[in-house]
């Protein structure tokens, strides 16, 4: 399966010197997806103005992690990493379908197969979009776009030999996270002098939790909808079989016809609704879930820096009092101060940008969702009324 041409990006692109990144193509192989990252740039450090490389998911993760681990970027919201392409569920369903081929009619089989393929395609498109959004955010960020790793990622046309983390590293990561969250709790307790940040902290915490909740609930809602749609499918094919079996005299023929209509009617309605909601709302929520987590991480880093700064201050005072290692304490304090201020400054801007982006994205998506729902609602109504007309006409 390969994705079609570049799709609209729902993130504001603030480009001065030209750097445009997109995923022009993607190929799905057995258990991995190969993305073709296409770059157009006027930046001097690239050899050409336009070029493409093939990247896999692990390489995106490597890039993201390199940002996170880079102290220089402590003051920025690191764009969240794209989620791993997950075709397992879809593949399983396809397999089950293949196994159950004997037990259902040919008609049912082709229909279900078509649907599963459509589902697969939808997941595929989504994962491509997520990866693309990540790259675009990086490209749009005034500081991150200059990152060396990023340029290597974009340009180096060989395999980056980035292997996935092995067990030991994964365990290390796990412990790091535990420490971080424990620390986060401690650090969160420190009241911030700056009103702006204090407000942001409370806001983000609450927002993040609620987005998480909303995202989970929307997922459940969509799953229920899909289940209902599957049932409708089964009902539709049963009705169809009933209708075809009965075609021995005229009235039964009509019955078959009307049942057929009913079936396509119901099917279109239910399946459409499920797809729309999925695309718009759930993706939006999931994305902002990750972004708000990234923002929280930024705040955490800033608070950490603040704590370090305060500790350095205390150490300096102690050193001055004891009149020992004063120079050392002074340099360390200055470093901390510098770090903290740098982070604070950029963090402020980042958080303001975050808000702007968020509002814009939600607004755009909600409007699109409403428009789509309205269009389908009108369409469904027409479909239903048409169906009714036919059925009643046959009486």
């Amino acid at each position: 399966l390969s994705a079609p041409a570049p799709r609209a990006v729902n993130v504001d692109l603030q480009t001065d010197a030209m750097l445009q990144v997109d995923i022009s193509d993607a190929l799905s192989e057995r258990d991995k997806v190969k993305f073709t990252v296409h770059t157009k740039s006027t930046l001097p450090n690239f050899k050409q103005n336009e070029f493409s490389v093939v990247r896999q998911h692990e390489e995106f993760i490597w890039l993201h992690d390199s940002f996170v681990e880079n102290e220089e970027y402590a003051g920025y919201i690191i764009p969240p990493a794209p989620p791993r392409p997950d075709f397992d569920a879809s593949r399983e369903k396809l397999q089950k379908l293949g196994e159950g081929e004997g037990s259902m009619t040919k008609e049912e089989f082709t229909k279900m197969k078509q649907e599963l393929e459509a589902e697969y395609l939808a997941i595929f498109k989504k994962t491509v979009a997520m990866h693309e959004v990540f790259l675009c955010r990086v490209a749009a960020h005034p500081v991150l776009r200059k990152d060396l790793n990023f340029h290597v990622f974009l340009e180096y046309n060989q395999d980056l030999s980035v292997r996935g983390k092995n067990k030991k590293e994964k365990l290390e990561d796990f412990f790091k996270n535990v420490v971080k969250s424990a620390d986060g709790v401690l650090v969160a307790g420190v009241k911030d002098v700056d009103d702006f940040f204090e407000h942001e902290k409370t806001f983000l915490l609450e927002y993040h939790n609620r987005v998480k909740d909303a995202s989970a609930k929307s997922d459940r809602m969509i799953r229920s909808h899909k289940n209902a749609a599957d049932d409708i499918n089964r009902i539709a094919s049963s009705l169809y079989t009933l209708g075809t079996q009965d075609s021995t005299d005229l009235c039964k023929y009509e019955q078959m016809l009307s049942l057929d209509f009913t079936r396509s009617c119901l099917h279109k309605i239910e399946a459409r609704i499920a797809a729309d909601e999925d695309l718009k709302l759930a993706d939006l929520l999931k994305y902002y879930l990750r972004e708000s987590q990234a923002a929280k991480d930024l705040l955490y880093r800033r608070s950490r820096a603040l704590v370090d700064y305060e500790n350095a201050n205390k150490a300096l005072d102690k050193a001055r009092a004891k009149n020992r290692d004063v120079l050392q304490a002074e340099t360390s304090q200055q470093l901390c101060c510098h770090k903290f201020e740098k982070i604070s400054e950029s963090a402020k801007q980042e958080l303001i940008d975050f808000k702007t982006r968020r509002v814009a994205a939600f607004r755009k998506n909600l409007v699109e969702l409403a428009e789509l729902e309205l269009k389908h609602a009108k369409g469904n109504l027409q479909l239903l009324q048409g169906c009714l007309g036919i059925l009643k006409g046959n009486t």
Partner: protein
């Protein structure tokens, strides 16, 4: 009440009061095949003149009803006497008139009825158009604890001359319905009439109600049952023959009904029924019928397929109802969540938009919930009804096979007797010979009757099947239309709500 609508068919000669085949109970040794084809003379009530009936019954001296039927006319209160109380000997005789009819145990003679009888009844239909509407309402809990039961009000509105009044209501309980069905089944099933099955017993459901749990699920249960009972009665009276049955009429009209005790699940009658069902199943396997009529074979196959399809459809619809309920719960939760999100968003416009989204979702949720209810009552229940109806249909086909078998058995027996007689010709035993000749004569009569029975049941089944199919197509179409209409309504509501959110931005 004017009887002019009904012409007493002059050609009707032997209109006998026939007996029920419930001899099975006192004679467990007899096989199914020995059950005579019998029919309660519900038709008696349609005859206009009482006296005319006397002549009809003279031929059958052993008919206990001969006495009772003399006074019968539509206006006669003694009509209530004419109840077939054969099927359930366990009925406690509450009303004295019924005790006139003592359990006719041991009478296994065949009664004759003409082929023309049923045709004529159906022709009479033309005179009085089918206009009857029954509703079951006001479920009311009577009594306390484990002896409690639900009483339902059965209201009949009709303009048919069959009834004394045009609108009347009685109180009935669930076991009354079951009793009615069991009586009708014993009278009509084995001559080929598709008797609509009664709603199923539900020990769990009823126990909850008895115990007094006033919650959502027990209310739903009562409502489900009420609706099922209403459909059951409507289906029963739609059948032109069943409508005229005195049991049905009594059920609808009389204020007191003898308690149908034998319908209890764990009674001895219930156990006997189970044993009989098992015996039936075994017998069915051993009967090998030469089907001379392709129509029957085709129809049987058709019903088998239909059964499979309907069951599948039923499971899918039930599953859909379940998922819709889930969906509505999840939508509600999501709506709340979105509202919270809107609250925490400090950008006011976005906050408002999100809250609106939440509101809309909530409304949609409610609509989905209603849709789920609509789906359930209409489609799923109907499918369940039809699955059960098909069992009755298959039963009718089985009875035809049994009738055939009986006929064949009589023929074989006749053959044997003839051979025996031939042998006896050569011996010098005149009395034995005479006995053999008598037996042969009797058997010849039986064989003829068997053939007639078989032809009759085949004819009846054909008519019934065509009526059944017409009803089925009609029912399904109506249901689908209703379902689509409710979908349209829901969709219209949803559309209204969505345009609100759209106006916003």
């Amino acid at each position: 009440m004017a009887d002019t609508a009904r012409d007493a068919p002059p050609e009707q000669t032997d209109f006998h009061e026939l007996e029920d085949g419930e001899e099975l109970f006192p004679e467990p040794a007899t096989t199914q095949e020995s059950q005579p084809a019998s029919l309660a003379a519900e038709d008696i009530s349609t005859n206009s003149n009482g006296p005319k009936q006397d002549s009809l019954f003279d031929d059958d001296p052993e008919d206990l009803f001969a006495e009772a039927t003399e006074e019968v006319s539509l206006d006669s209160p003694e009509r209530d006497v004419l109840l077939s109380d054969g099927p359930s000997p366990a009925i406690t005789p509450i009303t004295p008139p019924t005790s006139v009819i003592t359990p006719r145990i041991g009478h296994t003679h065949d009664d004759m009825f003409t082929h023309s009888s049923f045709d004529e009844i159906e022709e009479e239909e033309g005179g009085d158009s089918f206009d009857i509407h029954i509703s079951v309402s006001d479920p009311e809990k009577v009594g306390d604890g484990m002896n409690a039961y639900m009483a339902y009000k059965v209201t009949t509105k009709t303009s048919m001359s069959l009834f004394k009044r045009s609108e009347f209501a009685v109180k009935r309980r669930f076991s009354d319905f079951l009793g009615l069905h069991s009586k009708l089944a014993s009278k009509y099933l084995h001559i080929g009439y598709i008797v609509p099955p009664a709603p199923e017993k539900s020990i769990v459901g009823m126990t909850k109600v008895k115990v007094g749990k006033e919650d959502q699920s027990s209310n739903e249960f009562v409502e489900k049952r009420r609706s099922a009972l209403e459909r059951y009665l409507m289906r029963t009276v739609k059948h032109p023959i069943l409508l005229k049955d005195p049991d049905v009429l009594q059920f609808l009209e009389s204020s007191e009904l003898p308690r149908a005790v034998s319908t209890q699940a764990l009674s001895s009658a219930g156990l006997l029924r189970m044993v009989n069902k098992a015996a039936d199943a075994v017998n069915k396997m051993t009967i090998k019928m030469n089907e001379s009529d392709a129509w029957f074979e085709e129809k049987q196959q058709h019903f088998e397929n239909l059964d499979v399809q309907l069951r599948k459809l039923h499971t899918s619809v039930e599953s859909l109802v379940c998922h819709r309920k889930e969906l509505s719960v999840n939508t509600a939760q999501f709506a709340k969540s979105a509202a919270m999100l809107g609250n925490s968003e400090d950008h006011t416009a976005l906050s408002r938009a999100l809250s609106q989204l939440a509101e809309v979702e909530e409304k949609i949720d409610q609509l989905h919930q209603d849709q789920a209810n609509a789906d359930f009552y209409l489609f799923s229940e109907l499918l369940g009804d039809y699955v059960r109806l098909l069992t009755a249909v298959k039963g009718v086909f089985d009875h035809r096979m049994k009738t055939w078998q009986k006929w064949q058995d009589s023929q074989m027996l006749l053959q044997k007797k003839r051979e025996a007689e031939a042998k006896l010709q050569f011996t010098n035993k005149p009395d034995k010979l005479q006995q053999a000749k008598d037996e042969i004569k009797e058997l010849e009569g039986k064989v003829q009757q068997g053939e007639r029975d078989f032809e009759q049941i085949s004819k009846t089944i054909r008519k019934e099947v065509s009526r059944f199919e017409k009803e089925r197509v009609k029912d399904f179409k109506t249901i689908i239309i209703k379902y689509l209409e409710s979908l349209v309504q829901t969709q219209q509501q949803v559309n209204k709500n969505i345009s609100y959110i759209f106006h916003y931005n």
